[in-house]
């Protein structure tokens, strides 16, 4: 693998955060003059790897070689001086400074101790001319579109570093025309011999621009391949987890499905997810499969009223309901465990008990507090029932491991005795043992007659507990699989299919 062609080599990089192993001996090799796509689902370790390369994080193990010399950047500034420049999705420039000031911040040309604005502006114009940009460099950066800001950021990064350019989701907020412009620039930089790392979740763009692809999953290297010889389906199979042990893949007790309870017709919201129809019975688990950005999470949020639907109607037991807000949804006995439990799930400094009773208390209203004895009873019940491993119920929840935090959030919603439970990535970022427990729990809830919607990027998991699987692509529901057709291969096939094809 190691050739002199490599401009940047990362060897057995390790990084551990409390509770998770973010990078587990990951190798990454970047050649001179190549565009190398770095892929993986959320939490796969892409950002962590990049942050280790750019010095934003200190790695716990492994080595980084730049031009065959070992380097150890302590911060992004040092990485830049060494030759590794980074451009993030959120443009990391200062919107209130002019374009020229942004390009030359900290190294403005000076005359007699004063900044020579004229020289600086001239050099800024010259620099941007290389990037097909002819703009007024004396205007504030904020007055330009994100695409132009992105190019300015690239120009600055290349001008400062000049060996390796890392682009972290640079196209996320650009339109097709702007993407084309960006790609022209990337190709030009590639021809100049830069090594370019390209992180994105748009697979079309990966195939359009990249020479090689490296896939990470759960902090581990899945593999590095030539783009030309890797077909789409294989790539998706690499990205999506298929590693669940057979033990939880027990034959599904043939779903003794209850009556149809929830009907969504033509339900959707512009810009988030295209209108879809969805029926959910009691005692059913509907899985949502799709890649990041396909509209899975958007669907979940829409169903819970976190965003208001702008088309279609919802019915529960044949009666029309208005799910305008999470409060309304909770009144109808909906529950929702969001994807990012750190920011939108747990309240870290509160105890396990307080986190568990939170939703129930919110539904009852603050004027009718739950007695301490009742709280203790509830907390103890769920700590036992879900096997939440904590020293005691008064421990701050942030001290628990990821899997136990997840179970506590689940307990929070179970305490409200929901009838319709939405789980967004319930197994994200928790260890494999805890995976199996969550899967068992989902099974148990289904048997109790709950209706569940589960969003997951772990295909095998979906196969294990779903009675039906909805496949999403490009913010639309594109396929529905049920019965014996719920297999990992079929799901991957449906995700990878480039043409819209309905298998009802």
């Amino acid at each position: 693998m190691q050739t002199n062609d490599d401009i940047l080599q990362a060897i057995r990089i390790e990084k551990t955060f409390p509770g998770t192993r973010a990078l587990d001996k990951v190798d990454f090799h970047l050649r001179r003059g190549e565009v190398h796509a770095l892929l993986g689902e959320n939490g796969a370790g892409k950002s962590t790897l990049i942050k280790c390369l750019t010095g934003a994080y200190r790695r716990d193990g492994g080595a980084i070689l730049l031009d065959d010399t070992e380097v150890d950047p302590r911060d992004t500034f040092e990485a830049q001086a060494l030759g590794i420049g980074t451009v993030y999705q959120e443009v990391n420039l200062l919107p209130n400074l002019t374009v020229a000031e942004n390009l030359f911040l900290g190294r403005q040309p000076r005359r007699f101790g004063m900044v020579d604005a004229r020289a600086m502006n001239r050099r800024a114009r010259d620099l941007l001319a290389d990037y097909e940009l002819d703009i007024d460099v004396t205007r504030d950066l904020a007055s330009y579109s994100v695409a132009i800001q992105q190019v300015v950021a690239i120009a600055r990064a290349v001008d400062l570093s000049g060996k390796v350019l890392i682009l972290d989701e640079p196209t996320a907020s650009l339109d097709a025309h702007e993407v084309a412009m960006l790609f022209r620039i990337i190709r030009r930089l590639k021809a100049r011999g830069l090594g370019i790392v390209f992180v994105t979740h748009f697979l079309e763009q990966v195939y359009e621009i990249s020479d090689r692809i490296t896939v990470l999953r759960n902090g581990q290297l899945v593999g590095t391949r030539e783009t030309a010889s890797l077909d789409r389906r294989e790539l998706i199979a690499m990205m999506i987890g298929r590693e669940l042990a057979a033990e939880i893949h027990a034959p599904r007790a043939e779903a003794q499905q209850g009556p149809l309870r929830y009907r969504f017709r033509n339900y959707g919201r512009k810009g988030r997810v295209r209108p879809f129809d969805l029926d959910v019975r009691a005692g059913e688990v509907v899985g949502m499969a799709g890649l990041l950005g396909s509209g899975r999470t958007e669907t979940a949020e829409l169903l819970f009223g976190a965003h208001r639907a702008d088309s279609g109607e919802a019915e529960i037991d044949g009666r029309a309901v208005d799910l305008a807000s999470p409060r309304a949804a909770i009144r109808h006995r909906f529950g929702f465990c969001p994807e990012d439990r750190k920011t939108s799930g747990i309240v870290g400094d509160l105890s396990v008990r307080e986190n568990i009773v939170l939703a129930l208390q919110a539904r009852r209203g603050w004027t009718r507090p739950i007695s301490r004895a009742e709280q203790n009873r509830l907390a103890d019940h769920y700590i036992r029932a879900l096997d939440i491993r904590t020293a005691d119920r008064e421990k701050p929840i942030k001290l628990l491991s990821g899997g136990n935090q997840q179970k506590a959030i689940l307990a929070r919603w179970l305490a409200t005795e929901p009838e319709f439970l939405i789980l967004d990535e319930p197994t994200r970022g928790i260890d494999v043992g805890a995976h199996a427990e969550i899967v068992k729990l989902i099974e148990a809830l289904r048997e109790k007659g709950l209706s569940l919607i589960v969003v997951s990027s772990e295909i095998e998991e979906l196969v294990a507990y779903s009675t039906r699987v909805i496949v999403l692509r490009d913010r639309a529901h594109v396929a529905e699989l049920d019965g014996t057709r719920i297999t990992a291969d079929q799901i991957v096939e449906a995700i990878a299919a480039t043409n819209e094809r309905r298998t009802s």
């Binding site: 992004t76 500034f77 830049q80 990391n92 420039l93 200062l94 919107p95 209130n96 400074l97 000031e101 942004n102 911040l105 900290g106 403005q108 000076r110 101790g113 004063m114 900044v115 604005a117 205007r139 504030d140 904020a142 007055s143 330009y144 579109s145």
Partner: protein
């Protein structure tokens, strides 16, 4: 016109308009004498406001200014009364103390990651307390050198005079404009106001810049204290209460965004002049209570906050369409 010049232009227009209205009512106000007095009367506030402009541009706030002015005045009065030091040496001494005091606050804000509001609030009490420790009485300064300094002025045609302190304020503003727009430090101040985390990523020396900003504010507050003691010929620990708020007002009316990152030192000068103009008008009128100054300035301040909010909305809207 670039949107960032809009608040500055609005301030300038309001000042000129206000002046025209004043002159229409009291033609006497159109004289170099009035202008000279405007500069002299507001010199200490103007000098302190330059420091405040830098602090606010960087996204911070400095509440200790008034107290530092009072401390400076008392310090000078006490030193000149009890020792035989030459006032110039006393000036140098007190400027050094004020600068160090500001730098220390900057260091606390940066290294302990404390909000500037709390740190400078503590600084405010500390400086005021130190003034009381030195003396609780109003001490007159009768040094002959003070009389000499007060006698210095530049005569304008029409009988007006730009006194030493009025001229000093103009010089400080000129230096402030140069520092803000023509030095790397100036750009770094704007950068901090645009976002500390991003600035750090882009290689701005955040610690050094923060400390220098508050040191500069301290230095200028000290200079303002010297000017104030020249203006009043006394040092009193209860003097200059609330001057920091007047300075903030001038900065905001001058078109600087209170959240930092956008604004001009020159705008602050106009802001000072507007405040002075309102006061002058009330003096000329003679029948109006001085409370009207506060009411008018309150309204103006409110109007400018609305204007800034509007500009931010408009520019964001425009960007979305671009």
């Amino acid at each position: 016109m670039k949107p960032k010049y809009l608040p500055l232009t609005a301030t300038l227009v309001i000042f000129l308009l206000g002046y025209v209205i004043c002159v229409a009512q009291y033609p006497n106000m159109l004289s170099t004498r009035v202008i000279g007095n405007l500069l002299t009367d507001n010199a200490f506030l103007g000098i302190a406001a330059v420091g405040m402009t830098f602090v606010i541009l960087s996204g911070g706030i400095d509440l200790s200014i008034g107290s530092v002015i009072a401390f400076t005045g008392v310090f000078l009065a006490v030193v000149l009364e009890h020792t035989s030091l030459h006032p110039l040496i006393a000036f140098a001494l007190v400027l050094a103390i004020a600068t160090l005091f500001g730098a220390a606050m900057g260091a606390v804000i940066h290294y302990l990651e404390m909000p500037a509001f709390i740190v400078t609030l503590a600084g405010m009490f500390l400086a005021r307390g130190m003034a009381f420790v030195l003396s609780i009485d109003s001490i007159p300064i009768k040094h002959p050198f003070y009389a000499t300094l007060k006698g210095l002025y530049f005569k304008l045609p029409g009988g007006g005079r730009i006194t030493l302190i009025g001229g000093l304020m103009l010089l400080v503003f000129a230096a402030g404009i140069l520092i803000a727009h023509r030095t790397r430090f100036g750009t770094n101040v704007y950068a901090l106001g645009g976002g500390t985390a991003t600035s750090r990523l882009m290689g701005v020396p955040v610690a050094a810049t923060t400390i220098r900003i508050y040191a500069l504010s301290g230095l200028l507050a000290g200079l303002s204290g010297i000017v104030f003691s020249l203006y009043t010929s006394a040092g009193y620990s209860l003097a200059a209460v609330g001057v920091e708020l007047d300075a903030i007002t001038a900065v905001v009316i001058g078109g600087t965004l209170l959240t930092g990152g956008s604004g001009f030192v020159a705008g602050t000068l106009v802001g000072i002049l507007i405040q002075g103009l309102i006061q002058t008008y009330i003096t000329f009128d003679g029948s109006l209570s001085s409370w009207w100054t506060k009411i008018l300035i309150g309204l103006l301040l409110f109007a400018f906050i609305l204007l800034q909010k509007g500009i931010i909305l408009v520019s964001r809207h425009r960007q979305q369409r671009a």
